[in-house]
Symmetry: C2
Subunit: 549 residues, 2 copies
């Protein structure tokens, strides 16, 4: 059988990746676990492939890395080398990278070290922090394929605006990460570099579309990563991989230089934001480092809302949404919500139940507004190379409209979107609620190819609310998460509910998977939402130092 | 000939108007000037129809009215009655109203007076200020025809958000004002209440689309009015009628409850903003009264950028744009710019020339994005009643695209728009410019039906820059504004340039017309732009009290 043209093109994408891997850090195949070993999260320690110091470095949060560098205990060079080593190992186990940038990263780290030696000062708030980058965020003179085979040879002419700002703040970019075809899976597979796996269970998806970032931060190949999110693409990978992720309010964080097929589309604003390996604090560090540079002064589609420092306060009302009224969450997620409620009440936080408001209506709006042109541009890029349409690409093409909307139809939906936002906002105010704690997904990390239901995250996209995903500290438990007799008798409310409920079956399918939660705040209250997430995260995990903040 | 259905429908719109006119204040036909008398701006004083006190009241700015009320020198009731009387007279001369609301206004004014008597306090920063309202801004239980015959019976179920906020601040709404069919003329004529005239010369247009507001504030029927602007619709009427007008940056001032045919469209954001009879200060008063109520807390499509108080400063660089590179301004406008330059330099302000940057490109973008659906919705509303399409409606339908854009074509234009904004913004920064002083239109008030060229105002819409129009203090001069021999030899750069230049012919056509200027500031620098406009206005008019601020 002859090799098709698209396969040769895809091979060029793989060549870029393969040539970029720093070979000196590749583990021998014999030292790697067998493909049947699902959970590899502890492999860096257990394997002995990383030194104690490298393990110490890669376990630190970005915030702590910067503190150690400021105190002179750590150099940027050894830091980025430790993360590069862990990333190479992570890539061998999880296939999360699309390109390594080891030489440039080490060279930049050396510059930072010499700056610090010369001046005694850090260059900025992210001095020496290694950051992984989702591939479709443009880097000057590097290809930017955005998960499409046709774009394997497309080269960015400059760094994305956000990348420039992070670099100003001292960040070191060491690895680019994988994304799904069309960028519209809550999963992470394409026809170029293939499928990325979940470090907690390699039969599960890392989530998506920022799945490479989920794996990168989950496996601690980077303390911080950059993802993008139009329906859950930052938060779902964070949830599935045991990381932290933040979806900012739109029009705050610079988008210029990020490639997508439908650039210029505004029916639903995509956003860019951070994932972090270890803490909400790191998400704040990232946001503040960017926003303090006033990106709106150059990128005029952003709004000039400066980042403010918010004092965390116990004086808040947290509403728990147990179920969105459409799809019933799986037992491990409910267990995490119950734990959260108990701990929050014990900590003296006011907790009430959140009755969801027309989430099916919200989904109708957002799913219709993703592709008003019936995904014509995405289909075109796929057709250009002749690559196959992957099942989850077809899925999103199908649940969005088969027929294009007319402009007036799209405008009517935009009006409905704005009315729904105002109504939801009024409800949050009238119920006296500050934050909504909810699932991030009906279950934990989905079995590969099964991540179909978006609306535990997409609802905050259509409403444009800032939202944070954080690990509950729980993982799926073979005893506690079995289906009860009552569970087995559950009568689903709809076909969608039935499909999602049927996926659970029992804890075995999801062995080892972390259980995440999500907290959303009001429109533009990004700072308050992160402050609340920090607090709630600490309370749930009984981190007394944090929760006394 | 039988009366057509649309004519009967239109008659109902006129009935609403006619029934609403407070008959006690109608001047007898014999006391009115003949239709051939062009300039009626001084008629209220010359006619003796208003008392000295009524003339004094209606000559005051909103700011001064509030001061007099705070000092107990003036009551809200006599204030609104004075403005109502002037408005009835103005309507007889200019046909600017669509509905009077005398009873409600007087009753509200009495409430305010009794509040003041009871508490010794004003109810808010607009206590007792009469404000006229463009008709398509919804008022509860009143019709909202938006200039379409088909909508003559359409009733708003609630007040527009902006109206509620202004009412909270103490405003009194006494008259609703005219707008053109489709809202897309820089003129003011529809098939319901007909054509509104310019108070300085009744053969000229008051501008549009907020032409009723231009006449209202120009004739001092209200110290403040509310207009809307997507291509110049606040600023052109202010310019043509000798008033002040402000186009805020979009997404700051509440839009909910304002009716248009293509509600939900976002390709170019329309904005709502104030016109004022007497001062830039009143524009600031209006904006601050609204923004201090944090409208974004309820209307989530607004951005939470609080209104700030800006100290006016002489430390600014004003760039003068003499010509947009597309259409050459007429002699009176050039004379006003020359006067401005001279006075600004004398006042020690740094003045440079502004070389326009691709204004034709800006026009291509905005004119294509007005009607991506080829005005299907507007045409449909017109078809519904069978009313005739007016010439300037046809004009805008024609200069926008005959064919609909596909979604991807519209998105490409939106991307071009954002790129153009960023480029223009970078240019303003790199040239060290704070404000751009320019014409508001190629000439003074156009002859009725001739207001064709939008891009001296629309350019700031596509760039989303705040901009203020103010009178230069000059009017067309029969000696100074004649065409020189050189002018007569001018070789136009294009058909458009030729068309606009040919309209001038000489000062006679524009006898009595005021000459306005426009000042634009950077994106979101609304406060700074108003502060600069206040300063520049004072300097040009040698208002020593103001310019020493």
């Amino acid at each position: 059988m002859s090799i098709q043209r698209w396969e040769r093109q895809a091979q060029r994408g793989r060549d870029i990746l393969n040539e970029s891997i720093p070979k000196q850090w590749l583990a021998s195949t014999s030292s790697l676990p067998p493909a049947t070993e699902k959970n590899v999260i502890d492999f860096p320690r257990k394997s002995g492939l990383l030194s104690e110091r490298e393990l110490w470095i890669t376990d630190l949060s970005a915030t702590k890395l910067v503190i150690e560098m400021r105190n002179g205990n750590l150099k940027a060079e050894e830091t980025v080398i430790a993360f590069l080593k862990r990333a190479v190992l992570g890539h061998q186990l999880l296939n999360f990278a699309t390109e390594f940038m080891a030489d440039e990263a080490i060279s930049r780290a050396k510059e930072l070290d010499s700056y610090f030696e010369r001046t005694g000062k850090l260059i900025g708030p992210l001095h020496g922090v290694p950051i992984s980058i989702k591939e479709h965020i443009g880097l000057k003179n590097r290809t930017c394929n955005t998960g499409y085979v046709a774009w394997v040879d497309k080269v960015a002419t400059e760094d994305a605006h956000l990348v420039r700002l992070l670099a100003n703040a001292g960040a070191v970019f060491h690895v680019r990460t994988n994304q799904p075809q069309s960028l519209m899976h809550l999963c992470c597979s394409n026809n170029i570099t293939g499928a990325t796996l979940n470090p907690y269970n390699r039969t599960l998806t890392p989530g998506g579309s920022s799945g490479g970032e989920g794996a990168s931060t989950g496996f601690k190949c980077a303390p911080l990563g950059i993802g993008t999110d139009i329906g859950g693409s930052i938060r779902v990978p964070a949830a599935f991989c045991g990381s932290y992720g933040f979806r900012p309010t739109s029009m705050r964080v610079p988008m210029a230089g990020i490639q997508v097929a439908a650039i210029g589309q505004e029916t639903i604003h995509g956003v860019v934001g951070p994932l972090a390996s270890s803490s909400v604090e790191d998400l704040e560090l990232f946001q503040k480092a960017v926003m303090d540079q006033e990106p709106w002064d150059d990128e005029t589609s952003l709004v000039p809302v400066p980042w403010k420092t918010v004092a965390p306060s116990r004086e808040m009302t947290v509403a728990i949404m147990w179920d969105d009224g459409v799809v019933r969450p799986h037992p491990p997620v409910v267990r995490a919500l119950k734990l959260a409620k108990e701990k929050l009440l014990k900590a003296g936080i006011k907790v009430i139940d959140w009755e969801p408001f027309k989430h099916d209506h919200g989904w109708k709006i957002i799913s219709s507004l993703y592709y008003p042109d019936s995904a014509a541009l995405q289909r075109k890029v796929i057709r250009e190379s002749g690559e196959p349409v992957l099942p989850l690409t077809q899925w999103v093409f199908d649940f969005s409209r088969a027929q294009s909307l007319t402009h007036p139809e799209a405008w009517e939906l935009q009006l409905e979107r704005d009315v729904y936002r105002d109504e939801y906002n009024a409800l949050i105010k009238s119920r006296g609620v500050d934050f909504i704690l909810s699932p991030a997904y009906p279950g934990v990390a989905a079995v590969y190819g099964e991540s179909h239901y978006w609306n535990y995250t997409a609802i905050w996209n259509v409403l444009d609310l800032p939202s944070v995903v954080f690990p509950s500290g729980l993982t799926v438990d073979s005893t506690l998460d079995t289906l009860t007799e009552q569970d087995k008798k559950y009568q689903p409310r709809s076909e969608v509910d039935e499909r999602e409920w049927a996926k659970y079956q029992g804890p075995e399918r999801y062995e080892g998977a972390p259980v995440a939660l999500q907290i959303a705040g009001r429109h533009f209250k990004d700072e308050e939402t992160l402050a609340a997430a920090k607090w709630v995260d600490a309370i749930i995990k009984d981190d007394s130092k944090q929760s006394k903040l």
